[in-house]
């Protein structure tokens, strides 16, 4: 035993003295033992001062030994990138080299400037921030908020990217058991021995729960903790059981979906870089057994927050499990029997117990007798009314409940127990409504909305035998309900201890006076009088009291404070506790890292990046890419010395003068097959399809029922009963969904099926005067001469020996082809075409050039020139609406009066007065520039480019009554001046349209 670990008691606890570790706190290097938490190691080194409180910067120590800890929050620093604030010292397991710092103090933990807030506390009561910084409004952003932000917050967020990996696992089981204390282990054993598939988790490093400190527990003839360890080993060895320690059930969702987070590397000094730091388990359980135990409450009295004042069960855990005495001369303030056992254990370990102050008037029973027999003074019918000491408690001031003379008793630690609060968080998260048990003053689980049950202390059990009986019954029943009944488990357990009784609320004037600070919520510095103030200010419901005072809103979510807060509010309102209400417990039970929630979805797994089969060719050509949905599309192909502008200018010119190639593989494609295929397309598109002959193409417009354009594309009729439909790149999934919807639910009698073939075919658009010459060198079995293959025709043949679906069509206004080949051949076909095209002076063009080329022809892009409020007529596509059709999607919607109204916004072309000025897409358009602001806007620019082929800028716009305003001048007000433009027809190249037939 190291001399430095002055509070480590030889022969006590379960840690191995032969396994020392070095750790540091605030830079001071100390020794602990393997298995220590930071809290137990600090106390072993006689350090109780661990942090400063959030609001008043009061010195704070360690209250608990588990996750409910509100005070001892530290910054753990593994390395530069791995630093985490607000880690509970009672949860952090130390490893060799572990380092942590205290938080919320400057310049040091012992001397903290912010503690001036404590003196100023009469001026910063609950609600202070809401009331004080309301006016003037401008001061909020510049003065109040920055300063409050600087002062607030605990710890520091890491500034480097998280270097750790995280993982996720979906799991299914018959029975999930939450908690591996006596209740959880017994329930899991019963379920597992019956044959059920079982998962059992516990948030702590080891199993046992309260058995870690409950020394008199005996189960199955063994000491309680020994039984727990043996049972855990037995369970872990069973094929049908998965036992997870360091694993917190943090969210209980619908239909028994419970989310667990498993901490895998956090307690290790070194680990393999592949190992995830944490893994989230999304468990779907047929049945859930909640065995979450109970949480001890502190006592609410003045100055109850000094370092060294802690829960009795925590002191007992530190002694019996970690072998650490929390002091050498301890006081106890209790309202139940369980704290007596802490006093007895400490006394037996050689610690002086100065006195047990018992709130009860006449405590009696074996625990009290045992304490007295050990020579411990018991002061019944009394309370602690204050404490002394600056950085560590040094005394307690004791007074009879009836009043009278108070007595100062020196102590170096003070243990409290106001009773045990069943941990109903998981039950509450499962949407259960807790029920107030007036007799015992506790909220207990009521009816179960899901297939779950609570057993043990979280279900109100106050003894070990009751706990074991509940657990075995639940485990067996749930296994049986899952159809497993292999074996019945019998266990007998018992203990001399009881966890019943207690008080809640403020004691002995702790809620009186301006300067009295009796803390209810340590982490948010909420005192008893703050809660009374909230009631005085008119808060009637606990939900309002909570938000006004912030009681229970810290990261511990009020695990120790909720019941006290309720009791104080209820007393102030003169109501029963259930009438004031209990706040709903929300997920997560304890804080969860963002990393765990993100899981695998980082870096390249954040979102799929979709590449076309021809992607490698674009990369080789040095293309820049743009994101189109999840697709990476070649945007333009800069050559040496070219910027984007120069590259696009070259590409658009080359396409019209020689020829160009474009990767159109991302287009959505649907194969429509069946005798009713034409009938179906007739109904889906505004255009008629029944008379389209096999071997022909038709441009189609699809509307929604409201008559607005939804998508467009080219449809090929392959055969009487087979069509190849194309959609926009972005519209592919939604068009397929809409078609399936109509087919399945409106017209299920139609004999037609839809199959997505978007990724079956790579598509190469080959456009321009030389296109035919290039293609002719490679195709077989199809005559592509102008006479044999007119514009808007479809043929099948072979290219490079592979099957080809050939569309004679154009989205550039030039004569062109769209060549579909099976995806795995896309690259080879591209490269063969590219070699021949470039030999003639052609080039590849990207999506930007494609946009310019189509705008030069006035071809729309759905989603850019339309926005969900544009009809085919508005877009100048009225010709594509079948006038003789009896029905199609949108037929009625587009006949609504407003959609037929003259003067609607219509798609037109714009030419700026100054040909060098390129309008901004989205810019608003007005009729006259000299209007007062806000001006009357008559439309907006939808597409705008520099057109190298026109030698000037071109644009498209939606303008009210645009078709009747040809030749008129409109104005585009911009921050640096008004731009004048003329309304023209939206065709800027080859208005007669002859080139496509070339």
């Amino acid at each position: 035993m190291s001399a430095a670990q002055k509070n480590r008691i030889a022969g006590k606890g379960r840690l191995n003295a032969a396994k020392p570790l070095r750790f540091s706190f605030d830079g001071k290097v100390m020794q602990g033992l393997e298995g220590d938490t930071l809290a137990s190691a600090l106390i072993a080194n006689d350090i109780h001062l661990v942090g400063r409180s959030f609001k008043y910067h009061r010195p704070r120590g360690i209250l608990a030994a588990g996750v409910e800890e509100p005070n001892a929050l530290v910054q753990v620093k593994r390395d530069g990138a791995r630093t985490e604030p607000n880690v509970r010292a009672t949860v952090a397991e130390i490893y060799d080299g572990f380092a942590a710092d205290s938080q919320n103090r400057w310049p040091s933990l012992e001397y903290d400037i912010g503690a001036v807030n404590d003196l100023a506390s009469p001026f910063i009561p609950a609600g202070f921030y809401y009331k004080t910084f309301m006016w003037p409004a401008k001061a909020w952003a510049k003065l109040y908020e920055p300063n409050i932000r600087r002062a607030a917050g605990l710890g520091k967020a890491p500034i480097e990217a998280d270097p750790d990996a995280y993982a996720n696992r979906f799991a299914h089981c018959d029975v999930l058991v939450i908690g591996a204390g006596a209740a959880g282990l017994a329930a899991a054993l019963a379920a597992a021995e019956a044959g059920a598939s079982v998962m059992i988790c516990d948030e702590q490093a080891g199993v046992g729960g309260a058995l870690k400190f409950e020394t008199s527990a005996m189960i199955d003839g063994q000491g309680g903790h020994d039984w727990a360890v043996a049972t855990a080993a037995k369970l872990a060895a069973m094929d049908n059981v998965r036992l997870l320690t360091r694993t917190t059930a943090f969210a209980y969702q619908a239909q028994n979906m419970v989310c667990l987070v498993e901490r895998i590397t956090e307690h290790l000094a070194t680990f393999n870089a592949d190992t995830p730091r944490e893994r989230v388990w999304q468990v779907r359980a047929k049945r859930v057994i909640i065995a979450a135990g109970a949480i001890e409450r502190h006592m609410v009295f003045a100055e109850n927050d000094r370092p060294g004042i802690m829960l009795a069960s925590a002191a007992r855990t530190f002694l019996n499990h970690y072998g650490v005495a929390v002091g050498r001369n301890v006081g106890v303030f209790t309202a139940n029997d369980s704290a007596y056992h802490a006093a007895i254990d400490l006394k037996k370990a050689g610690v002086n117990v100065a006195a047990i102050v018992d709130w009860r008037d006449a405590p009696a029973g074996p625990a009290i007798e045992d304490a007295r027999a050990l020579g411990i003074e018991v002061i019944p019918g009394a309370g602690v009314i204050s404490t002394g000491g600056r950085l560590r408690v040094s005394s307690m001031l004791v007074q009879a409940k009836a009043g009278g003379v108070s007595r100062l008793i020196p102590v170096d630690a003070l243990l409290m127990s106001a009773g045990w609060t069943p941990s109903v968080h998981m039950y509450s998260q499962s949407r259960g409504r807790v029920v107030w048990d007036k007799e015992t003053g506790r909220f207990l689980p009521g009816a179960y909305p899901q297939d779950a049950i609570s057993v043990g202390a979280c279900n109100g059990a106050i003894s070990l035998s009751e706990t074991i009986d509940q657990a075995l019954a639940a485990g067996e029943r749930f296994a049986n309900e899952a159809g497993r009944m292999a074996k019945r488990t019998a266990l007998k357990g018992g203990s001399a201890e009881s966890f019943e009784g207690g008080v809640s609320g403020a004691l002995l004037g702790a809620d009186q006076g301006e300067t009295v600070k009796a803390f209810v919520d340590f982490q948010n510095d909420v005192t008893a009088k703050d809660i009374k103030l909230a009631v005085r200010e008119g808060m009637q419901s606990i939900e309002h009291v909570k938000r006004f005072t912030t009681n229970g809103m810290a990261s511990d979510q009020g695990k120790t404070s909720n019941i006290h807060g309720l009791a104080i509010a209820a007393k102030a309102l003169d109501r029963e506790v259930p009438q004031v209400g209990l706040t709903t417990f929300r997920m997560p039970y304890t804080p969860v890292t963002f990393g765990a929630l993100v899981g695998h979805a980082r870096g390249k797994l954040f979102d799929p990046a979709r590449h076309t089969p021809i992607h490698a060719a674009h990369v080789a050509l040095g293309a820049d890419f743009e994101d189109v949905g999840l697709w990476k599309r070649a945007w333009y192909y800069p050559r040496a010395g070219e910027d984007m502008h120069a590259a696009v200018n070259r590409e658009v010119k080359t396409v019209r003068e020689v020829g160009g190639m474009f990767d159109a593989s991302t287009l959505g494609k649907i194969e429509v097959v069946g005798p009713d295929a034409a009938e179906f397309l007739d109904r889906m598109y505004t255009n008629p399809f029944k008379k389209l002959e096999p071997g022909r193409l038709r441009y189609g417009i699809m509307c929604r029922e409201d008559g607005f354009i939804y998508d467009d594309g080219v449809v090929a009729r392959i055969a009487e009963d087979r069509f190849h439909v194309t959609t926009t790149t972005g519209g592919a999934p939604r068009v397929m969904t809409m078609m399936e919807d109509y087919l399945q639910t409106e017209w299920p009698h139609l004999k037609v099926y839809l199959t997505s073939i978007s990724e079956q075919w790579a598509v190469i658009a080959l456009q321009g005067p030389k296109a035919r010459e290039v293609l002719a060198q490679l195709v077989e079995g199809v005559d592509i001469s102008a006479g044999a293959l007119p514009h808007m025709s479809y043929r099948e043949g072979r290219i490079l020996g592979v099957p080809m679906r050939l569309f004679k069509m154009s989205f550039t206004g030039e004569a062109g082809f769209e060549i579909n080949v099976p995806s795995d051949h896309g690259l080879a076909v591209w490269e063969a075409l590219y070699a021949r095209l470039t030999a003639l002076g052609g080039c590849a063009y990207g999506t930007e050039a494609m946009h310019v080329l189509r705008a030069e022809k006035g071809y729309i892009i759905v989603g850019q020139d339309t926005d969900g409020t544009v009809t085919p007529d508005d877009a100048g596509l009225g010709w594509a609406v079948g006038k003789k059709k009896a029905d199609f999607v949108g037929i009625r919607g587009m006949k609504r009066a407003d959609l037929m109204r003259p003067g609607r916004k219509q798609l037109v072309g714009l030419l700026t007065k100054d040909p060098k000025v390129v309008l901004e897409e989205g810019a608003q358009i007005v009729e006259t520039p000299n209007q007062p602001v806000p001006m009357t806007m008559i439309g907006h620019v939808t597409s705008s480019y520099w057109s190298e082929n026109c030698g000037r800028s071109i644009a498209m716009a939606l303008i009210a009554g645009g078709n009747d305003k040809m030749g008129k001048t409109i104005f585009v007000p911009m921050p640096d001046g008004v731009i004048e433009a003329e309304i023209v027809k939206p065709v800027f190249v080859d208005a007669e349209g002859g080139r496509v037939h070339g």
Binding site: Q253, A254, Q255, M257, Q282, R284, R431, A447, Y448, P449, Q450, D451, A452, I453, E705, D706, T737, E740, D741, Q744, T745, E746, P748, A886, D887, I891, R892, G893, K895, R896, A897
Partner: protein, 118 residues
């Protein structure tokens, strides 16, 4: 994440495989071109937003890809039953203060009554 019973797959599957698709049992008029403005309004725009049982369309889009219908209690967010598209709207009235069923009674034939889960 809910479990949703797909009436085509015959089993409960995780919610992420499904997409909700709006209110069920709104038939597209056969004489679409001829309906009045009021009829079009009722068909296209007006939707119920009940407290209690609602009937809605779902698609098992990442499963069998079928559209089907579900009766869901908007108070508890429990799906009371699912049934194939085209079947008539079932008659479901929730007894007052009854905990919603946790298992689809229409398909699995097993219902869980209040208290059963305790």
């Amino acid at each position: 994440m809910l479990l949703i019973h797909c009436p085509y797959c015959g089993e409960e599957r995780p919610e992420v495989e499904f997409r909700q698709s709006g209110e069920a049992h709104i038939a597209r008029p056969q004489n679409m071109a001829d309906i009045t403005d009021e009829e079009f309004e009722a068909f296209f725009f007006l939707r119920d937003n009940p407290k209690g049982v609602t009937f809605e369309r779902w698609r098992h889009v990442h499963g069998c890809a079928r559209f089907f219908n579900a009766a869901r209690d908007t108070v508890t967010d429990k799906i009371l039953m699912t049934y194939k598209a085209g079947l008539p709207k079932p008659d479901i009235t929730l007894p007052e203060k009854t905990l919603a069923l946790t298992v689809d009674p229409g398909v699995s034939g097993r219902s869980l009554l209040p208290g059963d889960a305790k």
